[in-house]
Symmetry: D2
Subunit: 348 residues, 4 copies
């Protein structure tokens, strides 16, 4: 068994890792670290973990790296950039959940940080070059050799998986892709503040950060790389009364000669080696992926307008966060990509 | 008091009318008619109406038109086209909730009927010419003189109100407008079938009829009229776990020289005489309009892509249905447009 | 128009008052006061109030009592006891929403305060004697003459209205009444803390303070008074994923000779002069009272066990809080009890 | 691997079995049978099963018993009584999900059938004697030797597990136990009819069958057996807007000398060999058991009234149905009781 360190264990990201790794055939949790709730057993913080994982949550000062093979940093922005260097120097692979290592240059990081309202100055710029963007469906080879992986944003994963085949295969005929994203409330995290109190979210739908969501930067980077030209994404997120789930509707102009069957075929071929992406020819719902690491993608061509519509869905806490992180870990540690991740979607 | 006949009284459309008209200062309900639940008091069908409205529901055969000033037909498609002629011949103004009278020509109706899976043949084509599309924010003058009004579809109202100023004022630089619509489950009606059982809708979001929703036809008609040129709308609806509410995100290319303040100003001017439309400079949510006849619209310009994003929200059972119908009735009957419709939004 | 002062205007209690009083035929709001959000228009704090009420929220230091007829103190425990004296000395009737004036003696207050984890020492004990427990269905005569009313707890109102006829009319044959209460999340208030974040409450039901809820004290007082003997109530509350609504199931032993029709008859007679209480012979749901000041009560006798089951439902923010407070105000100010309170329940 | 036949595969009971058995180490599904949706792959009926289980659903006429070790009859009342005899005669163990085999005598069955509105005549009365009530926490020894098991009702399991230690150990001092049960909507089944459409259940709580719920009969039987005297249960169920979960609050008089620590200790000892029952000293919520086979029980003594309150929670589709059925199957087939059932509760 490989040994894992989970930093930021008491948020939803940490919880997702604990739930997956306690059932993982090849990776075990050695230590849980968190600032919040340090000194309590994790099964007191999350009572449903009683008997599943009863480890203590240790404070950051007591973090131990001996015998650790992989560290998951489920920490806020700008924590990973101060921790990752020391860890990889000790031979520990690092998977960071924040925006700290999703970019290749200080400029890109600064663009992200601006959108997010963060200090634009990256404190470990030398690490940006070696960090790999942790999207296995695109970067599996680099991830395999990586010491440091930036786990993508939840909206970003769902957008990219929906659009990537079209731009990679050259059937996207537009420079600006339009996306509307719908997310459940858990995407805002476990301690997400007054705006997410039950009466404020129940029976309410609202958009936010229209056109300026921070995940846009990484989506544009990855899609532009894949397209070999500069692409823009105009993204509007909205939040709905749902615990888990992301659904993205994307629109792009399609090159002439394509119809729905051809696009379906192209998408299926593109993802033929990706065990978690399923191309479907019906309207997918978040209830079909909840609790699983799956991403369902439905591309269809609207002949009347010459546009391609793509609907993609994921569970934001699984393929959108902890599930994808463990998938990256499996690749780094040379386990089957699906090890520990074959959850049946939870329904109803 | 003017006297109203409500046909289709036991669905959500009928319920909305009853709730509004029992508090209306100038219109009273004279008879409730429905096929379903005929012979029972309406307050047994909807127990919360006890003491508010205890009228009996009469079967269609017992419909009486004596002394009726206005008839609301909250009936399925193809019922209104068989009833409306006789009613208006007796001098009764008719407001129909279905697609029967939303179109000016048999061809347009046929396009709608195809999308909807209905018989494409309109049985009262002579009435199509005089029927007015019941959007007071655009057609108040024609509605004032009308005998027959086709009350718009719920998605259509919300889309049109969001986009109308841009196309009317010539700042829309594109031929295809993109819209994503999010609706609560009540939009499917009171007896909406197994797909809308609680466990199927709770914790689920899914799209449906991507690019082919029947409301698209009327939206394209109205926007093309307003623009003076042919416009297309590519609309994807989705359903979320919410009782009431519609939120539309629309995208259009904007003519150069426009920014958010200018568009806000243009929108405010456009709707300056429309008491129910509020232009806002923040992200609106459906919880702000629930239970009211309001429509909130937020236009903003994304300088980076040269596109205008418009977010619009309504309560699908109020401005999207019964509230808008009573607004039409107020105009026809020469009452203040807001009579009986000044509900404070219901929150939380 | 009588003039009202609303203190604590930015919580759900204050919001309820604003929503009712802006439509009230005889009472107008003169000033809104709150610590939180002072200096902002109330329609910025609650955007759905835009155009309904745009008054500024003033800080406590700027409270003005000139021309005020009635003050609503929708404030936390132990605020009212420091404000009420000065107000009533100026001839202003006071209705307090906290536990400060629900009790007749310092001892009773102390018992309440202990359950609630508050300082047990009442700072205005001389006011306890004249304060009236604001349950119009029991104390209308005293309320009519009162200067100071303690508005009951939301659970307390629903429990008392369910059980009061049985104990008053001597058909309750037991000393300990058992109650289970179910509440929506708004009962915890607008800024109710992390335990009420959406993901923690959605898809969850849990009990709390089993047998020790603070409302128990006032229920036992009122029922014992009515019964003329000491009664105990063993109450277990639970919270469910719902915005608004309280449902109480109560059990008591019934004297012999009673059956369901007799109990229904007795309950109907008991509440014949109470416009908001409806006795029903079917299972009531919270959806039937939402947004209204109604209380539905269903008593039934289980012959097999000799027990009477009573189910009672209210909207916790209306009959459970602001609606009941305005009902008290109507009585004090000699308006019809139902003035401004005839809301149709909001459904669906 | 033992081979299972699942009859009634397309309801929630069947779905639960499929989800568990596709991950079970020792039991595999050989055939799925159902009347509804026969002829389609199960992963078309439940699209989230794609890749998890793609078996066809066969019609009843094509049911094959060759090589079957165990049959799960997740069928409506009165189906099992016509199927079970033939199956057990072929050496196949049978676990029935309906009320057909929960009773020892024709009289008891008739009492159940009356409450349920069914034909009171049992068509296979000779099987009632050998059928075992499938509650492993009480009847493990009989289940081990059984050919035919009646899987308990979901409310019944949760009530019995909460009360059983008290009545078995002689600390219950009353003849009538009072229970209020709260259930999510999935308890009504997958095709549960109009009363369970989303808008009717969302934002609503209501009681039903107060004092006459059909599960009462089996609870009284089992508790009376355990107590060695006749006990009555007065049960009121209510339905809340939740997909999964049951919470029961029970009240009983306690013998003198007991306090909460003693009762906790007694309960812990009683269930020391029951892997799925956890005794807790805090308020349990349904979110702690969702998706798992766990039952959490919190007993506490209210010294003021001399009563014991017990709160118990389960997932109605797991410990309340399919999970408990597989637990019975494990015992019959001599596998560890927890095989295939160690799901981490699904949260959030």
């Amino acid at each position: 068994m490989k040994q894992a360190l989970v930093v930021g264990a008491t948020g939803f990201g940490g919880l997702g890792l604990i739930e997956i790794l306690t059932r993982h055939p090849h990776i075990a949790i050695k230590q849980l670290v968190a600032r919040r709730d340090a000194g309590r057993p994790i099964s007191e913080v999350f009572p449903h973990l009683k008997g599943v994982c009863d480890l203590m949550v240790d404070p950051a000062e007591e973090m131990k790296t001996d015998g650790i093979d992989i560290a998951f940093l489920s920490t806020p922005d700008r924590v990973g950039m101060s921790l990752a260097g020391t860890l990889i120097d000790q031979g520990i692979a690092v998977i960071d959940f924040s925006g700290d290592f999703r970019f290749r240059s200080e400029e890109e990081y600064a663009a992200y940080a601006r959108n997010r309202g963060l200090d634009e100055h990256h404190t470990s710029p030398h690490l940006l070059k070696e960090a790999v963007y942790g999207l296995p469906e695109k970067n599996a080879d680099s991830i395999r050799r990586a010491r440091l992986v930036g786990n993508p944003g939840c909206f970003a994963i769902c957008m990219i998986l929906g659009i990537l085949p079209a731009v990679s295969e050259g059937i996207c005929a537009t420079d600006t892709i339009i996306c509307v994203g719908t997310t459940g409330v858990s995407g805002a995290g476990k301690n997400s503040g007054e705006a997410n109190l039950y009466p404020q979210r129940h029976e309410n739908v609202n958009t936010y950060r229209e056109g300026t969501h921070q995940h846009t930067v990484e989506v544009e980077n990855i899609l532009s790389q894949a397209a070999g030209r500069s692409l823009k994404v105009l993204f509007v997120p909205q939040i709905v009364p749902l615990n888990r789930g992301i659904l993205i509707v994307s629109y792009l102009d399609i090159v002439s000669g394509m119809d729905t069957p051809k696009v379906l075929e192209l998408y299926r071929r593109f993802y033929s080696a990706s065990p978690f992406v399923m191309i479907v020819d019906r309207s997918p719902g978040t209830a079909e992926v909840r609790g699983s690491n799956r991403c369902l993608v439905r591309p269809l061509v609207d002949a009347r307008t010459g546009k391609c519509i793509v609907v993609s869905v994921i569970d934001n806490l699984m393929k959108g966060q902890a599930g994808n992180a463990v998938q990256n870990a499996n690749i780094i540690l040379s386990f089957p990509e699906t090890a520990g991740l074959e959850h049946t979607p939870f329904y109803p």
